[in-house]
Amino acid sequence: MEKTKKLHKIEIIEELCKGCDICVQFCPFDVLAMNGPVVEVVNLEKCTACGLCELHCPDFAIIVTKNK
């Protein structure tokens, strides 16, 4: 039986996101991608909750919550 992977949570606060692309560049697994003026989560299952995106977001616009 295939084990269902627990997904981590990535919250994008669109009012604060300026679409700078920094989180996209830092993400090691292409979880994030630009979608017009804001970033969006395109590959959540690849997210390891490393937090590099949150760490480098200059605008407090992305919050990663590790699923334990």
Partner: protein, 272 residues
């Protein structure tokens, strides 16, 4: 996940800075570092000058003072003298601290007064539209260097070291975790401390010099960064166009307000 809200004036968001500006990364690093020191918000005075980075004081829930251009260190000196028990952190930029405020910067270092200066170096005057700054590298373009910068650039960390600072470090917004540690150490250090942070200005510097967007400029910081330990084993020529990062200086020596308090104590005992 770090609780930034504890230290932010949330109603002031979003930040004034452009998309891709690294200043917000430094702001977050400062908040994490402050949190690690265990200092309370009431104990901290944060003082800034004029320019993009100096707008930072408006966003943080400390005793905050947004002063005149170049003068943050002078105002901060007054606070520290009167309330030496407060932790006084100065937020400034390359133009603010080393052009118009250059005199205050070197003399505060000379006195070794216990201030922590977080110096945002983006090589340009951003807020006024991209004029050449004391750290704009030779040949780079600025709105007042349309034919390429003819000036030499300051080594602003070196300046603080030579002038008598206790602690000098250089970090980048690429390596935010290391930056946290540097800022924490700088705050806890008794004496004049500087953390020079390399942070991109995509709008006023990057665009004019075809350096790409903020994200690319940050990634490029990684390529040119060399740790101070590694740099020690390299030839001087190899270090051209490189950014040496890490703790450049960390010495213990008498701090100005401590010396003054001792003097006061002595004089007051004599008069008893």
């Amino acid at each position: 996940m770090f609780n930034y809200e504890k230290y932010l004036r949330m109603d002031k968001l979003p930040l004034i800075w452009c998309a891709g500006c690294g200043d917000g990364i430094v702001l977050k690093s400062m908040l994490r570092a402050i949190d690690r020191t265990g200092l309370s918000k009431d104990e901290i005075a944060m003082v800034s000058g004029i320019g993009c980075s100096s707008r930072l004081t408006g966003y943080v829930d400390f005793n905050t003072l947004h002063t005149t251009h170049g003068r943050a260190i002078a105002y901060a000196t007054g606070i520290k003298m009167v309330k030496p028990e407060m932790t006084v952190i100065v937020v400034t930029g390359d133009g603010d601290a080393t052009a118009i405020g250059g005199n205050h910067y070197i003399h505060a270092a000379r006195r070794n007064i216990d201030l922590t200066v977080i110096l945002f170096n983006n090589h340009i005057y951003g807020m006024t539209g991209g004029q050449v700054s004391p750290t704009t590298p030779g040949g780079f373009f600025a709105s007042t260097a349309p034919y390429g910068n003819q000036d030499n650039a300051f080594n602003i960390s070196g300046l603080a070291q030579a002038a008598g600072a206790s602690f000098v470090a250089r970090g980048t917004v690429y390596d935010a975790v290391k930056l946290d540690r540097m800022i924490e150490k700088a705050i806890l250090k008794k004496g004049f401390s500087v953390v020079e942070v390399m942070t991109p200005c995509p709008t006023a510097f990057g665009r004019r010099n075809r350096l790409g967007n903020g994200a690319k400029m940050i990634m490029d910081l990684k390529k040119v960064s060399v740790s101070v330990e590694k740099a020690a084993k390299m030839e001087v020529e190899e270090l051209n166009d490189k950014i040496v990062t890490g703790i450049l200086m960390d010495v213990d020596k008498p701090e100005y307000t401590e010396r003054y308090l001792k003097l006061m104590e002595k004089l007051q005992n004599q008069s008893k």
